[in-house]
Amino acid sequence: MEIAFLIEKVAVVVILFVVTLTIAAYSTLAERKIAAFLQDRVGPDRAGPFGVFQPLADGGKMFFKEETTPNGANKWLFIAGPSLALLTSFLGSAVLPWGQPIEIFGRIVPLQVADINVGILYIFGVVSLGVYGLMIGGWASNNKYSLMGAVRGASQNISYEIAMGLSIIALLLVTNSLSFKTIAEQQHGWHWNFLYQPFGFLIFLVCSFAETNRVPFDLPECETELIGGYNTEYSGFKMGAYMFSEYINMFVASAVMATLYFGGYNYPGMDFVNELLGPTWGPLIGVAVLFAKILAFIFFFMWVRWTVPRFRYDQLMNLGWKILIPLAIANIVITACVITIFDKL
């Protein structure tokens, strides 16, 4: 019994790890393809049909490039930066439910690595840890541009984490739970939280753009102002680790948004499908639906990247502190009032 439990957990972890890596790798290709399509080009199409082997070629290139360390760099922190960035970006996916419990060989296997009852707090902790990788890397490079990028990244993440947390509080008033599993189960069928918290979702979306350092909030790594920002001095696989962690962050952020606001693995008519296909294939359809939502969000991230120009730094801070935080607080108050009134009725 214990061994079976161990095997099923290890299997879930390994599958999740591989899927995350694959999606992150192919996000790099998707980004270039989407950028090309939005600009009337075709994008990379030489490595294999439609360029499907491009991530492998890129990875090989990264691997064989020379790794340089600047003279004045702090050697240990210079290595610790990208490692930490990669590590923290992987941690987030541990608490997300990827589907309903699935029946395999007579055992009910929950498609979640760890169902902790403070899952949302855990995600927030991991997300705030993510900035350390960026911060340490930028500081250890002994480069003024990198330091500027790191400082920008840190202040940006802190500012937007507040608004993000406040938008989540309004959601928690609706769900009454911090566990991702419970939140996902509550959204059964079409009871998606987006319908109850559209405004909170909008704030959360903007903040997650800022948290993942994506355009229009990619100030820590803007090339025109900071010649690359915190990763200016990085080359070879360390640079690859930073890039990879950015795409994994994007994947995890998409998964969190899909789970919190867009029903996770739930879809209209899921009970009917589950009865039709049985306890093994039914939940798998749910997993496919969840991944479709995640990929849609990733597309949205990229779509925005190739549409909207970057914010100026003071505009970024104005938006975060003077607009998003008051709006999020107003959202909490209104949500609380509405819930109280409905409870009294």
């Binding site: 939005l38 600009q39 009337d40 080009r41 075709v42 779509w303 925005v304 549409t307 909207v308």
Partner: protein, 174 residues
């Protein structure tokens, strides 16, 4: 002041209204525009497989011309090298010997004629400077190489193929 040309336009700077200030409608409009571009015709030319059409006065690789009898036109006067702003052309002249009249049109010819294609900027001034109409930039794109020395083109690559050789090649083919 009154504009004399009548073309002056005064930029109107109205304060933004509410929908402009919340910024999101503008973003969604822009995203709509970029999304429509996904379905437009792609501008890409797949270069090695298909070549773009060049304009008629396009300047490509140089060729040293022969006259109607298949003799080399170049007399190694050096005007092309002199006119070259990129210092890409060098040559060594030689005197025509007895029995070489069918090869070279005049008494002097270029025994070595080299163009460094990495230096060349394809401005066409050599073509304009040539009094003998011996050099023209009417070739294809200069192909890429791995070594710098391979970009120095000698007479073997530059001189136009002679009629007899052309016929010999055709004979081999047919």
């Amino acid at each position: 002041m009154e504009s004399l040309s009548g073309r002056k336009k005064v930029l109107e700077q109205k304060p933004m209204n509410f929908w402009e200030r919340i910024y999101l409608p503008a973003i969604f409009k822009g995203m709509g525009i970029t999304f429509m571009h996904m379905f437009k015709k792609k501008e890409t030319t797949f270069y090695p497989e298909e070549e773009r059409e060049f304009s008629e006065n396009w300047r490509g690789m140089h060729s040293l011309k022969r006259d109607e009898n298949g003799k080399e036109r170049c007399t190694a006067c050096g005007l092309c090298a002199l006119s070259c702003p990129a210092e890409a052309i060098t040559m060594i002249s030689a005197e025509r010997q007895k029995g070489e009249e069918h090869l070279y049109r005049e008494e002097k010819y270029a025994s070595v004629y080299e163009i460094n294609m990495l230096r060349c900027i394809f401005c066409g001034l050599c073509e304009e400077a040539c009094p003998k109409e011996a050099i023209y930039l009417d070739g294809p794109i200069v192909p890429s190489e791995f070594l710098r020395k391979d970009f120095i083109y000698g007479k073997d690559k530059l001189v136009e193929i002679s009629i007899t050789e052309l016929e010999a090649q055709k004979g081999v083919l047919s």
